[in-house]
């Protein structure tokens, strides 16, 4: 596949879009896991939402 005399501009465009989208998804996964860990730690200490307060019979 010949991208012509401006191949560098085409490749740079696609590379930047891929980098930004991969970074966004990686950040979203990382942030989600961090929040879930924090929530799990709180619930492990017995702090629960009212809707789940009865889950463990406490």
């Amino acid at each position: 596949m010949n991208l012509g005399p401006h191949a560098a501009f085409i490749i740079a465009s696609y590379a930047i879009v891929a980098a930004v989208m991969i970074t966004l998804v990686a950040w979203l996964i990382f942030d989600g896991r961090r929040q879930q860990r924090a929530l799990d730690a709180l619930e492990a200490r017995g702090v629960r939402r009212r809707s789940r307060a009865g889950d463990s019979g406490q």
Binding site: A7, F9, I16, V20, L39, R49
Partner: protein, 258 residues
């Protein structure tokens, strides 16, 4: 009698139900988005012919245009969510607006940067201060402003309301961006897909563009759902941390109701 749309909105108003439904939908949405983008890339690089004037640089259009459409579409979503917060006090409206703003900023950045990389070989300049480019740059700053305003206030309820008001005021920018290429003499080309009279692009280039656009929209939808889920979890963590602190202050054990 409620319509099905109202039913869906009220069903999703419960964050717990939203968490359950979004957890089911996310893998499907992400998979379909990846499939569309992969097929779009195949069409872009192995099927679409070079443009008779722009040569192979027309390939940049397949990522530039979907990014630019999303830059504006996400702002519309932020504005609708802000309206939902201010008028209907929908429980997820502020979550939706807050989650969408950084994604909108990212896609606006991509529209600007891919536009610059397309402009240099075609126009001879990375940047010109014409109405289309300048108005999209203002949109990017508006997204940054929404994030800055929200993070500058400790009172989250007040921050949400003020951010929503700014988002609604900023919607005036969308028609300016859309019609800038008609109202002013711009170097940027006029609309060639979303125009009266139908698209003016040949199907061999239009089809890959539309496939990529659908892929980008689905990818954004998946990312928005992920960001909303994270924001709901963040609010739960904050609420429980405050509850733990107040119980500790009152001398109650952690699991006690108080």
């Amino acid at each position: 009698m409620q319509t099905s749309a109202q039913n869906l909105t009220s069903r999703l108003a419960n964050p717990t139900r939203f968490m359950s439904l979004s957890a089911t939908a996310l893998p499907w949405l992400g998979g379909i988005a990846a499939a569309f983008i992969a097929f779009g890339l195949y069409l872009a690089f192995f099927s679409a012919p070079p443009d008779y004037q722009q040569g192979q640089t027309v390939k940049i259009m397949f990522i530039h245009v979907p990014s630019a459409w999303l830059a504006m579409g996400i702002y519309l979503l932020v504005a609708i969510s802000s309206f939902g917060l201010l008028v209907f006090r929908h429980p997820l409206a502020d979550v939706s607006a807050k989650a969408a703003v950084p994604l909108g900023a990212a896609f606006t950045f991509l529209a600007l940067i891919t536009g610059a990389l397309w402009g240099r070989p075609m126009w001879g300049a990375y940047w010109v201060w014409d109405a289309r480019l300048t108005s999209v740059l203002i949109l990017f700053f508006l997204y940054l402003g929404l994030m800055a305003l929200r993070s500058s206030l400790d009172d989250e309820a007040l921050a949400s309301k003020l951010t929503a008001i700014l988002a609604l005021v900023g919607i005036v920018l969308l028609p300016i961006i859309k019609f800038s290429v008609e109202w002013w003499n711009t170097l940027h080309q006029p609309a060639s897909v979303l125009r009266f009279g139908g698209p003016s692009i040949h199907a061999s280039i239009l089809v890959p563009l539309l496939v990529m656009a659908v892929g980008f929209v689905l990818a954004f939808t998946a990312m928005h759902l992920m960001a909303m889920r994270n924001e709901i979890l963040r609010r739960r963590v904050k609420a429980l941390t405050l509850a733990e602190v107040s119980r500790a202050g009152a001398g109650l054990p952690a699991g006690a109701k108080g």
